[in-house]
Amino acid sequence: MSLLEIRSVSVSFGGLAALKQVSMAVDEGEVVGLIGPNGAGKTTLFNCLSGFQPFAEGHILFRGASIQTLAPHRVAALGLARTFQTSRIFKRMTVLDHLLVGHHLHQRTGLWAAIARPAWVAREEAEARERAHRTLALFGDRLSSRLHDFAESLSYANRRRLEIARALAAEPRLLLLDEPTAGMNPHETGGIVQLIKMIRDLGVTVLLIEHDMKVIMGASDRIVVLDHGEKITEGLPEDIRRNEGVIQAYMGRRQIRA
């Protein structure tokens, strides 16, 4: 059984069909790239997966359970974490606090425990902090040197890294990355491929939306292509590179002249 199974999911906004009968599966331990021109429905599919976008038709099974009616925080509790296409950092929270919020599901301190502070609360906090440092180590000293700074003060690329770190702090089974390199320079982009490989080596399955072909080809084990809300093909990176349909979707029809 696959970790994630999407079975003919359709979403329409008014008359516009954003997703048409899309089916795909992601296996444990894979990095799957999701590509397609702007407006192909990639982010809509992410929103369906993470509980933000209701869908009338189709099924999504994550670890064998249907997530169709679940609120986003319940989907997160099943082990699915995501980042967003446009930055959604907590501007007036420190880097460390982002990681601790990310770890929220693995802690159980409620109102009364927060007030009474029994010994296990201190242990829980210490453990969360240690996990946070381990997660931040993936990013070298880029974030760990700014531990107590507000996220607002970080550079653009570091904000994107921080969002990934926050998602990783949830220790997810499946991580959805929505254009992690958007707005990064080529040098910063190169680091993302390494990062995704490190994330996979931690045992986290990754579903990746990306426009940068170097990143997609370098990081993905398998690629799914969407266009106008439909899955047009899927396959290994080298097959996708040569696929006529994909080239057409991006470039338009080849003009053949005699």
């Binding site: 993470s50 509980g51 933000f52 609120a71 986003p72 925080h73 997160a76 509790a77 974490a81 995501r82 967003f84 296409q85 446009t86 930055s87 959604r88 950092i89 907590f90 501007k91 007036r92 929270m93 606090d97 601790l100 919020v101 990310g102 929220h104 599901l105 802690q107 301190t109 409620g110 109102l111 425990a113 927060a114 007030i115 502070r117 609360v121 829980e124 906090e125 507000f150 607002e152 970080l154 550079s155 653009y156 904000r159 926050r166 998602a167 949830a170 254009e179 958007a182 707005g183 426009h211």
Partner: protein, 333 residues
């Protein structure tokens, strides 16, 4: 360390000994009932402002009905004490519990709404609470108010004079601030701030945002009710006019001037704005002008307040400062 980051810790509590000592010695050095009365009122507003800070400052909810919960607490204590003869040490927590029960009901009904809608509903509740208090004569004596509330008692001894009330509110403030600091520095407090900063991101981090917002509201209204209970036993008379919208705005002004989203902010704001009008009495009719100028000055030159989290109030200046690094976001991705 910036002031907004200040959180009392075991390691730095002794740094605050002189302050505590000063607060303890104040009523022994000052004989004037008038000055002690101002200090007691400052203490009541410290609770009101710090509790409003939980919803409006930490969780980012726009509640504009705080005086209604303050009033519900005051009336609860007044009615229980005058009709049923319930002692002070029971009316005080009951005032908090009744106020937070109303808080829970309002929260459950309205917290699915965001931003300005919540503000409107809480203003509406504020007015409804006032009208109910004014017209439910058999319970509240309506416009006549409730006189003859027994004074607060400590170990059976009734307090007379403001010195006793001063020590009582000092202890109560310390307890309330301790509880609030415990809450906001925990996993629960982080969830509050995450919701304020970005509710969608908070949800995808696994925070159940609706119950968390309800909890924030319940805690805030509980403390408002406690402040009301204390007020009833101190003033020994309650009337609906003390708990109107202008009272809510007075508390809100203290919070904004002091600074939202930090522990010291509301304390500083409450003490400052209770003392300022009294300290500027010598200005006679210019008092209001000076008060207004100081408020405008704070908003213009320090929009986050005296000790608030920078950028928490979005003026145009603050907005452009906050948004600057994300100019690249506009690029085609």
């Amino acid at each position: 360390m910036p002031l907004y980051e200040f959180v009392p810790r075991r390691s730095n509590w002794h740094a605050w000994l002189p302050v505590l000592l000063g607060l303890l010695l104040f009523p022994l050095l000052v004989q004037s009932e008038y000055l002690l009365n101002i200090a007691v009122y400052a203490g009541i507003y410290v609770i009101l402002t710090s509790s409003l800070n939980i919803t409006n400052g930490y969780t980012g909810l726009f509640s504009f009905g705080h005086a209604a919960f303050y009033g519900i607490g005051a009336y609860t204590a007044a009615i229980l004490a005058t009709r049923s003869g319930i002692p002070f040490w029971l009316t005080l927590p009951l005032a908090g519990i009744v106020a937070s029960a109303f808080g829970a009901a309002i929260a459950l009904l309205t917290l699915r709404l965001g931003g300005i809608f919540l503000a409107l509903v809480t203003i509406g509740f504020q007015e409804i609470a006032y009208l109910v208090i004014l017209n439910w004569v058999s319970l509240t004596r309506g416009p006549m108010g409730i006189p003859g509330i027994p004074p607060a008692t400590i170990w059976g001894v009734a307090l007379s004079g403001n010195r006793g009330y001063y020590f009582l509110i000092l202890a109560l403030d310390t307890l309330v601030l301790f509880l609030i600091s415990r809450i906001v520095t925990s996993r629960v407090g982080r969830a509050f701030v995450a919701i304020r900063e970005d509710e969608l991101a908070a949800q995808s981090a696994g925070i159940a945002t609706f119950p968390t917002k309800v909890l924030s509201f319940v805690v805030a209204t509980f403390f408002a009710g406690i402040a009301g209970g204390f007020f009833a036993h101190h003033a020994r008379f309650v009337s609906a006019d003390s708990f109107r919208l202008d009272e809510t705005f007075a508390i809100l002004t203290m919070l904004i001037v002091g600074g939202m989203g930090s522990l010291p902010g509301p304390v500083i704001g409450a003490v400052f704005l209770v003392v300022l009008p009294e300290a500027s009495r010598f200005l006679a009719e210019y008092r209001g002008v000076v008060y207004g100028l100081i408020l405008i000055g704070v908003i213009l030159f320090r929009p986050e307040g005296i000790a608030g989290v920078p950028g928490i109030i979005r003026t145009r200046g603050a907005l452009s400062r906050a948004e600057k690094p994300s100019a690249e976001e506009g690029q085609p991705a």
